[in-house]
Symmetry: C2
Subunit: 130 residues, 2 copies
């Protein structure tokens, strides 16, 4: 009952199969196993991060606060660049990464704000002035 199903993952999937010496393929697959473990961790960590930013989005919608917070973003970027240097990660990449995440977060926040406004209108609540 351990038959692979349609979306089962083959960790040894590679266009290089058969073109590489077995000992090289073995090392490649070992490193890729670590990458796969890191990627699973990244997915779960990103899910947790979006849970936190959903909460921020809800607070912003509830109290009619703007979606963007420039002073916060400046502080975040400076900190991530410094952390990246400590971790020997390219600081420019860390900044690009944060901007990539933040643009997704702002998209979420706008959606939350629109939903919140639509719901407020349905229950006849005033949509501004709080």
């Amino acid at each position: 009952m351990t038959e692979p199903h349609a979306d089962s993952f083959d960790p040894s999937a590679s266009s290089l199969s058969g073109q590489v010496a077995p000992e090289v393929m073995e090392e490649l697959l070992s490193v890729r196993g670590s990458i796969d473990n890191i990627d699973a961790t990244l997915v779960y960590l990103l899910a947790e991060r979006f849970k936190a930013t959903q909460r921020v989005g809800y607070l912003k919608a509830r109290y009619k606060l703007p979606a963007a917070d420039p002073d916060r973003e400046v502080a975040q970027i400076a900190r991530l660049r410094r952390l990246a240097e400590e971790a020997h990660l390219d600081p420019a990449f860390a900044e690009k990464f944060l901007n990539f995440i933040i643009s997704e977060v702002i998209r979420h926040h706008q959606a939350i704000a629109e939903n919140h406004e639509a719901e407020s209108e349905q229950v006849g609540e005033p949509t501004s002035g709080r």
Copy 2:
């Protein structure tokens, strides 16, 4: 001796300061503290991921393997979408995220291959046919 220096991080930096009720600001800062912890983890995890892909890049350069591996990428994307669903993360975002990382990795691999080729030429090693 705990004076803040030029690049010290202010976790309460916000363009919203003074515009928000103290109890709302307190909750916002609490959630942002969690986001900051997650971001530090992400930076260190990405640094570790790039260490692993540098190793792959070195193997590819050493054995003259192509930078891209389409079958591997297809398997990775399908797996990450499935993991994203389990983690309640938007699978489309997870795929966009992996593509973002992979494009950086391929950039690194090309740089490694170019360096490797330059070094091989310097020591008079043949650059192809292995």
